[in-house]
């Protein structure tokens, strides 16, 4: 099994290299001289030359790339043009906010998606099944920024139950923090819940028609025990790996959700950076998201092996 994990880790290296190449070449898409953008209003030739020297812009492109990767590996992703802070510090500051949002959305998706998926599988081809599949289709089709706006309109503007925007750190005021994050995590988590529901349903249908479930029923076990301990325990595996994979999607979806609810997280950081042409920040966020996403993929693969006794035996 360790061999598998090590092999899987090694496979992530070329992926990361290609992504770093992509992120690096993004700045080459920019028209004009990046130094002119960095220097802003000042067009002092000495300063421009200094900046060119500092960012290795006089070197051939492969050398520039090596220098950039070298810095990135040492945790130096450049300086934000807007705030003059190191990009890494900015990311470290915003990441916990987005992680809280992502964790709350994920728990929401699990608590709604899995029970409804089991229910739909058990009540296959009944009204309940159709109703849940309509719910799942809506969850997958609704643009989450629109859902967010509609919820603000209904819950905050009309009913006045929850705050429409803002952010409160969890460790300062846990209750208010959860309250402000409730709507955003519903908005971000609902597509995930839909996906979770569909996968749970199909996994459960497969398991419930298997021989050991029939045997369990024949032994006279109660339906609850059959469905939960014999059925769900065997259907849970693909759902675990799916959750790890979808976690990366959450980071992407957070961009829009944070924009609507004005949450000062990772997603808001990249959008603000895009509009202030703070390209080092854009690159940094993209690179970090990719690394996070790849780690989650890795975790999904490893979990799949660890949780599956048959796979474990064959390793």
């Amino acid at each position: 099994m360790y061999v598998f994990i090590v092999r899987r880790l090694l496979l992530a290296i070329p992926t990361l290299l290609i992504i770093s190449l992509f992120v690096f070449s993004l700045q080459k898409l920019l028209p004009g001289d990046p130094v002119l953008v960095m220097a802003g209003e000042e067009r002092d030739p000495v300063l421009l030359e200094l900046l060119r020297e500092k960012y290795h812009l006089n070197d051939p492109i492969p050398v520039q790339y090596m220098a950039w990767v070298g810095n990135a590996l040492r945790g130096d992703l450049g300086i934000s043009l807007r705030t003059n802070q190191p990009v890494v510090a900015l990311i470290a500051e915003k990441l916990p906010v987005t992680l809280q949002l992502a964790l709350m959305s994920m728990s929401f998706a699990l608590f709604i998606g899995i029970p409804l998926g089991i229910l739909a599988a058990v009540k296959k081809n009944t009204f309940v099944d159709y109703l849940t599949s309509v719910l799942a289709l809506s969850g997958l089709s609704v643009p989450n920024f629109w859902l967010g706006i509609m919820l603000i309109l209904l819950v905050s503007v009309t009913l006045g139950w929850l705050p429409a925007s803002g952010y409160q750190p969890f460790f300062v005021d846990p209750l208010l923090s959860l309250k402000t994050m409730l709507m955003p995590s519903f908005v971000l988590g609902n597509a995930l819940a839909a996906s979770m529901m569909r996968h749970t349903r199909s996994a459960m249908i497969g398991v419930l028609s298997s021989d050991y479930v029939r045997t369990a029923r024949a032994k006279g076990l109660s339906e609850r025990v059959v469905i939960l301990s014999h059925g769900f325990r065997n259907a849970v595996l693909p759902i675990v790996t799916l959750s790890a994979l979808l976690f990366g999607e959450l980071l992407a979806g957070a961009v829009l959700t944070e924009q609507i609810f004005t949450i000062p997280g990772f997603g808001k950081l990249i959008v603000d950076a895009v509009f202030t042409r703070d390209y080092a920040v854009v690159q940094g966020v993209v690179l970090c998201t990719a690394v996070g996403f790849i780690s989650m993929n890795l975790l999904a693969d490893v979990l799949y092996v660890v949780l599956n006794p048959r796979m474990r035996a064959s390793m």
Binding site: I18, Q27, P31, S141, W146, L251, Q259, F275, Q283
Partner: protein
């Protein structure tokens, strides 16, 4: 699984005829087709419809609720929202279709070449594909749109590039399995060259799953375009797109809630349409489901 004897074997035309009958027998798919067709017709006929000019501002009709002259109200510059919705359908649908067409027209040939030829070419293409599949779709699109500069065309390119790896991987997998089929071996045996085999045998056989994936990806692409426009990276004002209409509407939620309801509702409906159609196509084209 049953085996087919010679009399049961179907020609491609018979197969697509059967798939079509199965598709229109499926009520959900038919509903999807109806939704998509309605929006497509409205978008195509936009210049001919008796609606006001979508760019015509009016200082006397700013943020007016629905009325006889403006059935779903006016926006912050007094423009007719219905007219902007119909013109916005053009932007959203064409963004969805063109970006997927671009992704398919690059991804399918690359996938076939990669799967059929194998070797170092396949190695390189597969590694790059995997790397891009490891990036969340929207983040890639945002990054590309940011660096290419905000415009509808650039957002389409960004979406196409983000969708590309899905098509390369799908086509490659299909090409690999078709390559092992007996009829391809037969074609090789009678001396057909790789180009002829790829175009005559591999290409038609990878098409059905590509068609399904393309339909579902149009739905994703429409949401992606709306997201980019919502963030200000897609369609630029004053031209209308559903995403950019929502972007403005969010600033007037308390004063003019109707500005936000319709564009999002339209995105939702058209995406449901493409999803239903895609699911229906999958069932209709699946040879296992007789």
């Amino acid at each position: 699984m049953t085996t087919l004897d010679a009399s049961e074997a179907k020609t491609p035309t018979q197969r697509s005829g059967r798939a079509w009958r199965k598709l229109i027998a499926n009520k959900a798919a038919l509903a999807g087709l109806g939704i998509v067709a309605t929006f497509a017709i409205l978008a195509l006929l936009a210049p001919l419809l008796p609606i006001p000019d979508p760019l015509q501002t009016s200082w006397t009709a700013i943020r007016k609720p629905p009325s006889w002259s403006h059935p779903i109200g006016t926006d912050e510059l007094g423009r007719d929202i219905l007219a902007r919705m119909i013109w916005g359908a053009r932007a959203s649908l064409s963004a969805g279709l063109f970006s997927v067409m671009l992704a398919v027209s690059i991804g399918v040939p690359l996938g076939i070449l990669s799967g059929y030829l194998g070797g170092w070419f396949d190695m390189i293409v597969s590694r790059i594909t995997e790397a891009f599949l490891a990036m969340p779709f929207l983040i890639t699109a945002i990054a590309l749109a940011a660096f290419l500069g905000p415009s509808l065309i650039n957002s389409m390119i960004a979406i196409a590039m983000s969708a590309l790896p899905i098509f390369i991987r799908l086509t490659r997998g299909q090409a690999l399995s078709v390559k092992a089929e007996e009829y391809v071996e037969g074609a090789r045996a009678i001396g057909l060259g790789p180009v002829a085999i790829m175009t005559r045998y591999v290409f038609p056989n990878v098409l059905p799953p590509i068609l399904v994936q393309a339909t579902l990806t149009v739905a994703t692409a429409i949401i992606a375009e709306a997201s980019l426009s919502f963030l200000g990276l897609g369609q630029q004002p004053p031209a209308a797109s559903w995403g950019s209409m929502l972007n403005i509407a969010k600033n007037f939620l308390t004063q003019a809630p109707w500005m936000a309801v319709w564009p999002g509702g339209a995105i939702f409906l058209v995406v449901v349409g493409f999803n239903l159609l895609g699911d229906g196509l999958r069932d209709a084209l699946d040879p296992r489901a007789a």
